[in-house]
Amino acid sequence: MKLYEFEGKELLAKAGFAVPKAVLLENVQDAPFLPCVVKAQVLFGKRMKQGLVKVCKTQDEFSDAMTVLGKDVNGEKVEHLLVEELVNIKKEYYVSFCYDTETRGAVLLFSEEGGIDVEEIGTVKKVPLSELHLLKTEVNVLAQIKRLADVFVKSDCRLLEINPLAVDGTGTMIAVGAMVELDDAAQGRQKWQYPPRFAIRSERELEVKKANDVDHHGTVKYVELDGDIGVLAAGGGASLTCMDALVAAGGRPANFSEFSGNPTAEKVYTLARAVMTKPGVGGLWIVGAVANFSRVDVMMEGIIRALKEVNPKFPVVVRRAGPYEAEGLQMLRDAAKENGWDVEVHGSETGLTATAKVIVEKVKKWQS
């Protein structure tokens, strides 16, 4: 989970790090102090370049900077502004901790030059956390970095980026910019209380997210895209493979979806309903690899329930295999016959991606 800047700085302050003096605003009001920096609280980066961070010397400038409150920027609503004192920066560093597949562990990304374009400049060094003592920099900076590394690990962050880590006129090190991403897998031991957040593109995405979080029996994921073919895909790798095949066959996916780990029929139902009810969907492709332990009959129970509710006129093409394959596929054939749906069913006798062109052609025909 990504944290807003003010939440990230709270986390740092609690761990004993200096952050700029600040006030968090939700409503339009006069400047609490001047000069100040007004920062729109959004989850994406590069805010400076988009005019979402403004230095204000007068009340007029401040009032102008406040107009962003409540606005939609890149699909996110600006609900908070962080108003901070201006820090008198004498020197700035770039300090970022994350996990890295090359070293298969936690690393520090470090530069003696902080700033907004540091990642493009190419002065950033990568140091595994286990080799921090080899980093060549001033003693007090290294000490601060070691303490930050400790916070990064103990607070279960995926990312902890301080840019810049500034030294002010008095020699104090202050975290002027902070980006924090928490590791959701650690929720069980960290017991974070942050309100949920993600760029919601539709009610359907929200419903699937809620259904997913009900229990830990399998996962369902749903992301809307611009096309017209609904995709109900099983498995992390198979869902990617099938999306590629659909696009290669000239199809335009209406969404990305994935269900895996033997999810309950209820979860699959919610996902299937979301996929089918997206406006403009002209076909449904149900596809997945030969499952190891997800039961085909259980997933079909959820899918049939959604089909009954939506009662689609558009074509449906299926390729699914694994445990209880014959039973599951027969359930779907029977339901289709009974309700007059256009459903074409394939099992493991057909290749994983072979039905991509079938659904593309059927949808074309149905739309014309």
């Binding site: 498995g235 869902s239 990617l240 590629d244 990305f256 997945g288 030969v290 190891n292 290749g351």
Partner: protein
Amino acid sequence: MAILIDKNTTVLIQGITGGEGRKALERMKDYHTRVLCGVTPGKGGQEVDGTPVYNSVREALEKHKVNASLIMVPPLAAKGAVLEALDAGLRTIVCVTENIPLADAAVMVRRAREVGAVLIGPGSVGVMSPGLGRMGPIGGPRDVLERVYEKGNVGVISKSGGMTNEVSFVVRQAGLGQSTAIGMGGEMLVGSAYADLLRLFEKDDETKAVVLFGELGGTYEEEVARLLKNKEFTKPLIVFIAGKFAERIAPGQQFGHAGAMIERGKGKPSEKMRMLKSAGAIVAERFEDIGLLVRDAL
């Protein structure tokens, strides 16, 4: 001979009394695998389907000659379980548990490397050596397994559990069989990535070619390109990389596995395919081409 699991493999299951642990036990016993005992702290003295349960790995090893551990414990207990197995001297560990905090995964992976153990996973669906045995739920019930797996000369590696099966099925439909199939796990940090496993396949006489199912995100496929260039893997390697659509439609969005994300321009499928091709791998443009390519390579 196959890799990781052979006729001498004897297994202990950590988390044997849980639902997933019981199911794995049943599946493994049903397929040639000698599971001698299990461990669940606090449940020592019990039995699961005739298999004795101990409170700790050390205690279990005093009574049984075991050389591999299967980890089926809850996510937050996984680090402790893996370290316990390593400390007790086990050197082949398959961790099926997924959704493990990265801080824990990093510790597990590092410790395994330090002591020279082979850690598969976290997030692995298991390891299957047809005719010899399996560790984990890989292959599912016997009827599915019999359709997908058959002893042969092709190694299979995939992050994705479902695709470990599907790729193995494609190999089978091409009239071939598998030496060993491995779900290496879809988590960002894993104990054994493609290159590590290819080194094992290189040494295995029975393996004549390997199929690798790769995905967008991370750098594990890049390691393979280096391995090929250094001639550390010299058998035919057939590669498919999934996730090309994300480059075009939605970069920066996470699709599929936790490790699957194009960050800061890194991890693009097109780039991985280019690198692997120039390093000498046989790259399948379409998934359905894999079968023919493997057959041609042998």
